[in-house]
Symmetry: none
Subunit: 208 residues, 4 copies
DNA sequence: CATGAATGAGATTTCATTCAT
DNA sequence: GATGAATGAAATCTCATTCAT
């Protein structure tokens, strides 16, 4: 076989891999993560059920693939909301807000980012770990930047704080989703107001 | 029927209700929430499948029953860790620590408390709402107490802050679980140290 | 035991038998014949499931009991619509119309009368046969009367013709139920008009 | 895939579809319509339960498929008994007789044709409606033909009369089945004699 | 590579009937 | 007589995965 042919094949293979993920995403958006079945994915991708198993070893792998996507999309949200911001403290605040919008606009991806480990018993693969690392690093650098400008306490570990912010935010968004009725009813706060209150408090806790 | 007999029956029925919940708990501990099936529960309880449906109308009801249990247990943890503490601020810190221990020692219950609404699309029943209300109230009163002693900022809404702490904690515990390897590797922190760092920061953010 | 006591007991027993049938009827009216379960019947009768089995050997027996009731009710309809009619031919026509109204007003009973044998594989008991015989006799006598007055052909066998009318009517009502949409759409006939057409034709076929 | 292969597959698929219907028919013949279950059908067809669901979306669809078969078979009976007959009135009589033989020889099919709508609450699909339309049309044309030859009354609507004959016949066959013992015992008539009496009377009622 | 028929375990739920109390 | 807990077979349907073509 000529090398160009092999390359073409490689490209075609990659294209199908992506097509299957696209299909899976469509299915999850419609029927939820637990409503996703290989059958539906195959139908949405207009291929046969068996073909899915050529590109993925199992259903889990598809979910893993989508989770990587989801994490990449989150990183894009971070960049979109933080890069344009000059003020380092506002940059940090926008990490939270990026996540807020990610959650509102990309429910499916958010679910995957937040719950991947809970839902599947699987280990993180190298690719999954990589996508996670990129996010951590990005967040860390933003905090680090504010620290170097002496805007936040010097005893703060940027990496660690990134984790904390990340964990807290996931938890808050979760509770917002679950209890939004009560928030409105008992405290008269919209989800956005509630989240704003949370962001200000959180950031204030590390600034000088 | 003699009254004693009726009473005996009532007790026997209650005992079986509890036995089924125990069986369900055992199954979840082994196979996870999504791995729980009526079949397995019945087998674990050593009764027929149909018998389960005498005591519970549906699978959902079993999960709801366990969730109430889980919430009650969490409240006990709160009481255990907070009631003995005199200092109002330490009391607040111990809310976090109670949850930490709850999470470490009662994984299954923690999962149910944290994710009940996510996993099941169902409305909360009166019993469920009650168990939720008791927790909220307990936490709120502890924060309120510290506020009345002018130890935390007067602009803090105790109820709202309770929600925030609760949400944050769930998120942090989740991330601890997921990323504990990284925490140790990159920051040299044990999960306990990490959590302590989080608690101190969080409580500091509302104290005067 | 004193005889009066035995008698009282007998009456009480009969009363409960009837109460169970009443309950079963209520259930069928609500959920259909196939939706009837012993459980529902017992609940509707406010007795225990096991008690039902004291008065009836099986579910089938309950249905048989109701079928007898249904047949008796039909006989009442016949009497109601025919006895007041003087003209012998109109009397015959009213046999049809009695059934028409029975069908419209007593759907549950009609179903039992029309389909008892189809739905259950059981033999007719003596009671069932009796209730059937009463209907046959009543119809036969009406036809016989018209025959004796030389209003219908003398080669008609009243008993046989009763069967034929009875069978035909059940069939027509059935088709009316099934195809009423088409009757209206294609022939512009209401079910009543259609039935009237059928009655006139049928009776005309035996008159002189 | 080579065209021959695709075609072969298509044929194999059709063959299995038919095999499942055959199996279902066998089961119904043995246990009745209400005694048919997917399990039994699968066992009779010697395939796995799940396989049935590749060919049919639900149990209802199997019944619908069989009902189409049944209606087609009835149409064949009509053609067989009527086409060979020259005399228009005898043609009409043979509609009845075709049904009589259909009922005697194809009990299962007769039940499906007579009760499909009663037993299942479902809408007719296009295929079902089509099979029904073909029968109606066939019967209508036979009556229409006799009418055009001035052998039956001109006030008769062929389509409507078709419905009436059809409904009446179903009802009569039903009663024959139920009461054949009584017919013999009280009137000394065989079912065939009884049916003949019915046919003559019915046809006479519309002839000139 | 691609297909999709086949599998068969397993899910939830119902229900007539029995039987110890 | 009365109770209702217990049974367990049976019902419908789903679905990840395999494999012959």
């Amino acid at each position: 076989m000529k090398p160009e042919t092999a390359q073409k094949k490689e490209i075609a293979k990659e294209a199908k891999y992506i097509a299957i993920l696209n299909a899976a995403e469509k299915v999850i958006k419609k029927d939820g993560l637990s409503g996703m079945s290989i059958n539906k994915v195959a139908r949405a991708a207009k291929i046969a059920k068996g073909t899915v198993y050529i590109y993925f070893d199992s259903k889990e792998e598809i979910i893993a693939g989508l989770t990587i996507r989801a994490r990449r999309t989150l990183l894009e949200y971070f960049k979109k909301y933080c890069d344009r911001e000059k003020d380092p403290i506002d940059k940090i605040k926008n990490i939270f807000w990026a996540d807020y919008h990610f959650y509102k606009e990309q429910k499916t991806y958010h679910e995957l980012v937040a719950f991947y480990e809970q839902k599947t018993g699987l280990q993180e693969t190298k690719d999954l770990a990589m996508s996670s690392f990129e996010i951590s690093t990005y967040v860390k650098e933003i905090i680090e930047d504010a620290k170097s400008k002496k805007l936040i306490r010097k005893d703060i570990d940027s990496g660690l704080q990134g984790f904390i912010f990340w964990g807290m935010t996931v938890g808050i968004l979760q509770i917002i989703d679950t209890k939004k009725g009560q928030l409105k009813k008992y405290f008269g706060k919209s989800t956005k107001e509630f989240f704003a209150y949370f962001v200000e408090n959180s950031v204030a806790s590390i600034t000088i």
